[in-house]
Amino acid sequence: MLPGPSSSQAILQSPEFKKLVSKRWSVSLILTLIILVIYIGFLLVVAFNKELLALKISHSITWALPVGLGIILAAWLLTGIYVFWANNTYDDAVQEIKNKITHS
């Protein structure tokens, strides 16, 4: 189902398609920024302010433990958020544009 050159142009120029592409990258970039801030922030705290992570929650547990494990969990949850968004929003929009191609 390859569209011909003229309809390809029509899709590429259509506002729906342009919106789809820009929406995809804004979601991606926001999520990328979040993981970068979390990870680089963690490295900077480890490098410059270890004492912060040495603070205790209870007599044997430091903040370093939940923070470290939390980053692992956050990394996974962020990929989950992306999948959820893409499955529920992005794929529908793609399908709508594809339907238009077959109907025109």
């Binding site: 490098a47 433990l65 990929t79 893409a86 499955n87």
Partner: protein
């Protein structure tokens, strides 16, 4: 990145443990694993005829299966034994490594996976070269790929030889030859389909083995992690539960962190796996599944490390191996007896086999698909000829990896994992990302960016403390950072952008617009 070096130092075995003697359970387990995987290879061989079957398992792997296989490809013996060992001897610092290894996965999801799946065919160079001039881009990207694979492979082979020697009491040379031959059989006859199932089985074995190990260990603490950590601080003080001396220079931390994070998104054998699923939706699901399993695995190694620290004892672990690489195995013996030790040892062996098989397949694809078809044959692909070359390349890489394993016996090759990640982050990742996202990226930009990333990684690591001081025994390093990624990766981006802006390539920019249908809608994707 000294995990593997420490692995290599593991040789002597005190009498207190049965480590290093032939363990009937691990022998039986290992032979069972090889028998089952070779049977799968036989089954896969019948389904592996065409190019897309050999390189991409016919694109019939499901998202969940591919997620497990990605996890299998990524969880190496170095991370299982090495990170558990670092936690067992250094405490919290070991976790900083595992976090670095994990955070690359979200980036693969957000930036790479779907465009890669839609635009490419068999290798990541397909995507870099998609709208650029094929020959120059294919040549440099396959050099980037092959360098990454070569260093990773050497580290794995040398690690395998020493590990197996320690685990089974088998001679180093025999171990290297066995690993080389078995993995060549997988790839040669079973292609991607066999390799994928080897990864899946290995991932399940490793995850379940590590889970049982953690359950057995926590049972000694009434299943309360709190009791475990209390016991850690009682024996070794509070210092074990906070970041210690691992990171002293913030630039070192940042450079290593970037290498681990972005290098993951530039590993050819990982990227290649996205072509095994039918579409972008399945590719995205496989990253989610892989990230979950890998994250879970690192959490397990964290508990394994601390359990080993208290139950086995730091000094016992360090007596056996300075880097602590035997921590997980000693813990297995202590909590589950000799039979369980045998099981975990066999899992470690299977882990190495699976990782080298994945590396070899991606190396062979780069040689046949990128170099033979697109450079030698100028893109006129005759499928039979291409597969023939791929199979010859597989045999050549198998022989080469055995030879390299033998040549580097006893050498300090730990820096090679760091170097592989640095080249992946500096040569492969910037060109791939720019090609996917930046309209004005040009052939010249790609070539210069990849060359800059690869050459700077190689040169700077020689001048860095990792080689210049630790191996060549000079007083002071010429380049201050232990891992060059911060400099080499930023330079690769900068050079790629500047070279593209200096000489625009109109055809490439125009094709960027038309490829959007394929990138975002999957129209025309293979």
């Amino acid at each position: 990145m000294h995990l593997l070096a420490l692995l290599l130092q593991a040789t002597t075995t005190p009498a207190a443990s049965t480590l290093g003697t032939a363990n009937p359970v691990s022998m039986a387990m290992f032979f069972l694993f090889v028998a089952v995987t070779l049977y799968i290879t036989y089954w896969a061989a019948k389904k592996t005829k065409t190019g897309s079957e050999f390189y991409a398992a016919g694109r019939n792997i499901s998202g969940f299966q591919n997620g497990l296989a990605l996890a299998g490809d990524y969880m190496s013996a170095a991370s299982f034994l090495g990170i558990a060992g670092m936690v067992a001897t250094k405490g919290y610092d070991g976790l900083i490594y595992s976090i670095g290894f994990l955070v690359g996965w979200p980036l693969i999801m957000f930036l790479i996976a779907e465009p890669l799946r839609n635009l490419g065919k068999y290798t990541f160079a397909d995507v870099v070269a998609y709208r650029l001039k094929q020959r120059p881009v294919r040549i440099v990207s396959s050099v980037g790929s092959l360098l990454t694979i070569a260093f990773y492979l050497i580290a794995q082979m040398v690690g395998a030889g020493s590990l197996i020697k320690t685990l089974f009491g088998l001679q180093y040379e025999i171990a290297v030859v066995v690993v080389g031959c078995v993995m060549t059989l997988y790839v040669l006859f079973g292609g991607m389909l066999a390799t994928t199932w080897v990864q899946i089985i290995k991932a399940i074995l490793l995850l379940s083995g590590a889970t049982v190990l953690v359950i057995l260990s926590l049972s000694r603490f009434n299943f309360s992690p709190l009791n475990l950590f209390t016991s850690v601080t009682q024996q070794y003080g509070d210092a074990m539960l906070v970041p210690g001396g691992f990171i002293t220079n913030p630039f070192d931390a940042l450079s290593l962190g970037l290498a681990l994070m972005l290098g993951t998104a530039g590993l050819p054998h990982i990227l290649m796996r996205f072509y095994t699923v039918p579409n972008a939706k399945a590719a995205r699901k496989s990253v989610f599944v892989a990230t979950g399993f890998i994250g879970y695995f690192y959490i397990l190694t964290f508990f394994i490390g601390f359990s080993a620290m208290t139950l086995v004892g730091k000094s016992t672990i360090e007596n056996m191996d300075k880097g602590g690489n035997m921590a997980a195995l000693l813990l297995a013996e202590q909590t589950g007896g000799t039979a369980f030790l045998g099981f975990i040892a066999a899992v470690a062996f299977a882990t190495i086999l699976a990782v080298v098989a994945g590396l070899t397949l991606s190396g062979a694809s780069s040689i046949s698909h990128d170099l033979y078809v697109h450079v030698v044959k100028r893109g006129v692909s005759d499928e039979k000829g291409e597969i023939k070359v791929a199979k010859r390349a597989t045999v050549a890489l198998g022989v080469l990896s055995i030879l390299l394993g033998l040549v580097f016996k006893g050498q300090n090759v730990a820096f090679m994992v760091g170097l592989a990640f640095s080249i992946a982050a500096s040569a492969n990742f910037p060109a791939l990302l720019l090609s996917i996202t930046w309209k004005r990226f040009t052939t010249r930009g790609a070539v210069w960016s990849i060359a800059t990333g690869a050459i700077l990684s190689l040169v700077l690591i020689v001048l860095s403390p990792t080689i210049w001081v630790d191996i060549l025994q000079h007083e002071e390093a010429i380049f201050p950072l232990k891992n060059p990624a911060l400099v080499s990766m930023s330079s690769a981006f900068l050079v790629g952008i500047v070279a593209s802006l200096l000489q625009p390539e109109i055809a490439a920019a125009e094709k960027f617009e038309s490829e959007k249908l394929r990138t975002y809608l999957g129209i025309g994707a293979e």
